[in-house]
Each structure stands twice: as C-alpha cells, then as structure tokens.
Symmetry: C2
Subunit: 159 residues, 2 copies
Amino acid sequence: MPNSADERFLEKAIHLAERHSRDGIHGPFGAVVTRGNVIVGEGWNSVVASSDPTAHAEIGAIRDACRNLGTHNLAECTLYSSCEPCPMCLAAIYWARIERIVFACNAADAARAGFDDAEIYQEIEKKWSLRKIASRQLNRESGLRVFETWIQNPRKVEY
Amino acid sequence: MPNSADERFLEKAIHLAERHSRDGIHGPFGAVVTRGNVIVGEGWNSVVASSDPTAHAEIGAIRDACRNLGTHNLAECTLYSSCEPCPMCLAAIYWARIERIVFACNAADAARAGFDDAEIYQEIEKKWSLRKIASRQLNRESGLRVFETWIQNPRKVEY
C-alpha cells in the first residue's frame, strides 16, 4: 500500500503506464505532474499510437500541466514518472523549471523492455561534429541577424 | 544567395525564425524537415505563445513532419534549424531517427540572445542523484511489473 504522497502519486503514474499499454500500441510509460499535492497534469507514451516520436509520458504530462495551468513555467511542481526520464524528457523537465523528480524503474530496466536510451545519452555528451548523426553548420551570419533583431526587439518576452 | 539545397532549406528555417519572432512572443528559432529534397514539416518556437515549454522549433517541425507523413519514424529525413539543437531537441532528433542535421547559429550565439542551454547539457551528463533537480527513486518493483506485462504482451508494437 502506498503510504506517502510521493508513493501515491508515483503509483498513479505507474497505473497510467499499465492501463494505456495494455493495447500494445501505447508504450509502457506513465507520468503525472503535481503542484501543492494536487495532480495538474497526466501523460502516457503514445509514440506509435499518435505517430509522434516526442509523445513520451513526461512530455505529455508537462504539456497537459501547462495547458491546465496556463503557463510554460512549472516551478514548484513535481514530476512523477514510472521510469527514469530519457534525455529528451529530462531536458524538457529543466526547460519547464520542474522542481523535483520521482521515478520508479531505471534506464536499465527500460532497456530490458526494449526502450534503450543509453546511446542518446552518449551522443549528447559529444561535440556535434563527432556525433553519429551527420551534422553541418552553414549560413551562421544569416542566422545571427535573426538573433540581433530579437535582442533589439522592445516587444520581446523573455523566458 | 543560397546556392545549394542545404543552404536553401536552411534559409527557409531562418526565415521561419525571423517571421514568427517579430511579435516578440514567439522565440527566434525556426526549423524544417525535408525528405527527398521536399519540405515535409515546419516548426518555430512557441513556448510563450502556446504556454508549452516543449514547443521548440525542432520539436514542432518533427511533429509536423510526422503528422504529414503518418509515421513516427523520420529515417531518410534531414532537419534544418536556425540554431544548433538544445538537448531536448537533439534527443528528439535521435528518437525520430532523423538522418542528418544542418544548422546556422551555435549554442553560444543562442546564449548571447538569452537562450542558454549549457547548464542542461551539463546536468544531463551527471548521474541522476547528483543533478540539481532533486530526484528520488521509489517503488521500482511496482514499475517493473508494468514492463514485465509489456514484455509478455503478444500485441505489443515495438519501435
């Protein structure tokens, strides 16, 4: 029996993973976002079901929470995930300013179930020119003009 | 004048960044996804405009391309971005199986415009217990049962 708030919310995330993945089309991952001990967002993996490689459980829960709260800033929120976040979701958690993460399974457990993100973690640490995905930098001056215009824009909303 | 296909598609991504960020609400980032020298997806930063911290240009372009092509797999696609991808977008590019990346500005250029992802790159490299965001692992056994059920599920669609 879950006996702390952390355990209770984490079991909710695990339950979302279990319930949605029964069909074999939604991956076995669930997540919830809480603020002040209230669930404000829920998500589950729907990469295959919605043809969206970014539709991980944590991304879904963050987007749902932001929609419900009307903000892109989830400071003071906790994210509960049935599994340790992949690099994409982890970076999204930082961008969302989430305060705390609670998770159940770890990355090795996910790898054994067929979801391996170890290579992505390794690739991210490399300089772009050394990564497996061929990368090329071009037209930097043209891109810099957009940043320069942004810096000078008195209407810009910074975040 | 852009004179190669790479330059032409990259200028399109830069143009999306420029056009959408004029209002000061959309961040100065744009991206396109191509397959076989045809644009199949477009995106621009709408973090503030749509209250979504995951709404980076590359994520938008990947989701748009997947919607248009009806798949979560963008093998044989190239992503053009007005700026070097942040860790969230880079990981999304790997999950999407994109083949090649072409970008204009680098991360330091983005940082000077107020968009700094250096700390996120540093955090991702650390073990979870050493990161700045407080993290906690709980109820692993409960989470493992969902993976076990998934592994045994004859209907599961792997990706």
